[in-house]
Amino acid sequence: MAQAAQTPIVDVRDLKVEFRRREQSVAAVNGVTFSLMPGEVLTILGESGSGKSVTLKALMGLVPDYAHVSGTALVAGKDVVGMSKDELRKIRGPVVSMIFQEPMTALDPVFTIGDQIAEIIRTHEGLSHRAAMKRALELLEMVSIPSAARRLKNYPHEMSGGMRQRAMIAMALACRPSVLLADEPTTALDVTVQIQILLLLRQIQKEMGMAVVFVTHDVGVAAEISDQVAVMYAGRLVETGTVYEVLSERSHPYTEGLLSSTVHGGMKGQPLDMIRGQPPNLAALPPGCSFAPRCNQAAESCHRVDAPSVTLGPGRLVRCIRAQPLLAAE
C-alpha cells in the first residue's frame, strides 16, 4: 500500500497527437509530460483549441484512426498508447472513465438513465439487471439527484442541464475508476449549479480516493478544485506545479498573461491587462516558442529555438527561456 502511494497512477511522457489529413496536419498535442499520484486532482488549464480535450481523449484511447499518437501514457501501469481496442474496452470504466464536455453527445437519447448506467455495470461486473439497477439507484443518490428512483426512468432530454451532468458523473463512477477524466464538466452550467457540482466532485473524489484529471478554461474553477495545475498552450504544458505555486508564482509569461487578463473582483475602473493577438494556428505553428509572437518578454532567440523545459522543483516545470536562472539574472 505504501508502495502504491509512491507510484503515479497516471504517467504521461512526451505524448503527441497529430491529426494527419491529406491537405494539412494539425499538431493538437505536442509533447505533453505529467504525472499524477493516486487521490490527487490535476487541472489542465488552457484556452479553446489548446489541446485539452484531445489530451484526455488520448488517455482513454478515444482518438480517431487518422490521428497519429506517440509517446507513452501509463494509466494504472499500462500504456494506453498503442493498446488494442479490446484492452481499451476493458480498462474503460473500472480503471479510467471520462465525463465529457457535451453531456448530450455522451448520453444515449433512446435509453433511460437507469438503463445506461446499469448496462455499464453489467458489462464490466456481470451483475444481473436487477442488481445493476440497484447500484444505479445508489449512484444517482450519491450524486444528489432528488427522487432518484423516479429519475432512473428518465430519458436524458427529460432532465435539466445540471441533472444531466450529475447523471453523467454517476455513469462515469459506475465501475469505481481509479482515474476520472473530467472535461469541462461545469462549463455549460449556471454558476449556482456549477459550484454544487464542484463540491460534489471534490467530496466523491476524497471518499473514493480517486485521481482526477480535470480540464477547464476557468481560473476560478481551477482554484476551487485542483491540487496540481498544468497550464496548456498550443498543445504543450507551459507551466506545472501545485495550485498555489502556479496561481501565485505565474512563472511562465502566458500564465501571467492569462491570470491577469481574467476579470475578477476589484479590477474596476482600470484597463484590463491583455495578451495581444490570438492563439496560434496548430496547423502552422510558429518556429521556436509557440507563445513568442504574443509574449511581451520574448528574447530574439525565442522566435528561433524551442523553449527549454526548466525544472524548478519536483513536479514544477516551466517551459520558458526566462525561467533559466542564468538568463533571468541578466
Partner: protein, 360 residues
C-alpha cells in the same frame, strides 16, 4: 386565461425642452411582459405559459452601463429582444429618450431600431458568410441611403476603431477570422448606424479570456469615444461587475434586485443575489467555497411558483412568500437607488424577519 393589457398604452410625449436632455433617461421600460404559449396534446392547444418576462420595470440613464445578470432562462435575452422590438410585448411601455415607442406622436419602431443596436453571443451566426467584412459593415448604412463613398469611409474608420486594420481585414470573409475578430466586426457593424444605445447580449461569453479582455477594453474605450450607453447582459458576474455602473438581477422573469454596482456586489440584500454572488468560484485556493449557496436547479419558468418566485430555493421562505408577490422597492436602510423585491424588506409584510431583523 386573462387577456393581456393592450401594449400601446397612450403616453403623451415629454415636452420638447426636457426630451433629449441629460436628466431624461435614455430608456424607460415599464411593466414589460412576454408570455410564450406552450402547445401540447392532440389538439395542439395552449397548455401552459412560459412567463419569460413578467412586469419588468427599469430605466437606463444616458451614458451608463446597465448590467443584467441571472441564470440561463431568467429572461435576459427576451428583455433585450423586447427592447429592440424584435418580438412584440404582451404588455408594458417603452419610452426612448422621452418618446413613447410605437405610439401616436412618439418614436416609430424603425426609428428606434436605428438608435438601439444589438450584439449577440454567436459571432458566426450573426454575420452573413457571403458578405465580405466591409460589405457586412456598410450594408445597413447603404440601405438607409448613406452615399456609397461616405459609407465606405465610415466602414474604414469603424474597422480601425475596433482594432482591425482595414487593409488586412476589409476584404476578408467571416470564416477567415478568429472568434475575437468576428466579435469586433459585429461591434463595428452595430455601430455603423451611429446608435445611442448598444445592447450587448452575452457578447464576450464565447471568447477566450485573453481575447475577452481585449474586447472589454475596446467596449470601454468606444463608449467614451462615442458617448454610448450600454445594456450589458451576461451570466458572468465578474465581467458584469467590471463593466457596469448599475446592475439588474433577474430570476425567473422578474427583477429581484437592482442598484449601483458596488451596492449590489458589496451589500446584496435579496437572498437570491447573495447566493448568486457566493456561487462565484473563489480565485484563492486557500479560501475555497465549502458550502453550497443554493441547492437544485432553477425551477422551470413554465408555471413558476406563486408569490415570490425564489421561494422554492429560499432558506427564509415563509407562508407570506407563497401568498403574495413581493414588490420591487427601496429598502429603508440602503441608498434609494437600491431596490429589492423580498418580503423581508417590507415593514409589516407578515414575514417574521420583516425589515427590523432583515438578514444576517
Amino acid at each position: 386565461m386573462s387577456t393581456p393589457a393592450p401594449y400601446k398604452v397612450y403616453m403623451p410625449p415629454v415636452p420638447e425642452e426636457i426630451r433629449g436632455g441629460k436628466a431624461q433617461p435614455l430608456l424607460i421600460v415599464d411593466k414589460l411582459r412576454k408570455y410564450f404559449p406552450v402547445r401540447g396534446g392532440v389538439l395542439n392547444r395552449v397548455t401552459a405559459m412560459v412567463k419569460a418576462v413578467d412586469d419588468v420595470t427599469f430605466e437606463v440613464q444616458k451614458g451608463e452601463v446597465l448590467g443584467i445578470v441571472g441564470e440561463s432562462g431568467c429572461g435576459k435575452s427576451t428583455t433585450a429582444r423586447l427592447v429592440m422590438q424584435l418580438i412584440k410585448p404582451d404588455a408594458g411601455t417603452l419610452v426612448y429618450d422621452g418618446d413613447p415607442v410605437g405610439a401616436f406622436r412618439g418614436i416609430s419602431v424603425s426609428a428606434l431600431r436605428r438608435k438601439v443596436q444589438m450584439v449577440f453571443q454567436e459571432s458566426f451566426a450573426s454575420l452573413n458568410p457571403r458578405l465580405s467584412i466591409s460589405d457586412s459593415i456598410s450594408y445597413a448604412p447603404k440601405m438607409h441611403g448613406t452615399p456609397r463613398a461616405e459609407a465606405d469611409e465610415r466602414t474604414e474608420r469603424l474597422l480601425r476603431d475596433v482594432g482591425l486594420n482595414p487593409a488586412q481585414f476589409a476584404r476578408r470573409y467571416p470564416h477567415e477570422l478568429s472568434g475575437g475578430q468576428r466579435q469586433r466586426v459585429n461591434i463595428a457593424r452595430a455601430l455603423a448606424l451611429e446608435p445611442k444605445l448598444l445592447i450587448l447580449d452575452e457578447s464576450v461569453s464565447a471568447l477566450d479570456k485573453s481575447v475577452e479582455a481585449q474586447v472589454l477594453n475596446l467596449l470601454v474605450e468606444l463608449k467614451q469615444k462615442r458617448d454610448l450607453t450600454y445594456m450589458f447582459i451576461s451570466h458572468d458576474l465578474n465581467v458584469v461587475e467590471f463593466i457596469s455602473d448599475r446592475v439588474l438581477v433577474m430570476y425567473l422573469g422578474k427583477v429581484v434586485e437592482t442598484g449601483p454596482v458596488d451596492e449590489i456586489y458589496r451589500n446584496p440584500r435579496h437572498p437570491y443575489t447573495k447566493a448568486l454572488l457566493r456561487s462565484k468560484p473563489s480565485f484563492d485556493p486557500a479560501h475555497r467555497t465549502t458550502e453550497m449557496p443554493l441547492t437544485g436547479d432553477p425551477p422551470s419558468p413554465l408555471n413558476p411558483p406563486s408569490g415570490c418566485r425564489f421561494r422554492t430555493r429560499c432558506a427564509f421562505a415563509e407562508s407570506v412568500c407563497a401568498a403574495k408577490v413581493p414588490e420591487l422597492a427601496a429598502t429603508p436602510d440602503s441608498p434609494p437607488q437600491h431596490e429589492v423585491s423580498c418580503h423581508m424588506f417590507v415593514a409589516g409584510s407578515g414575514h417574521s424577519r420583516a425589515i427590523s431583523g432583515g438578514l444576517s
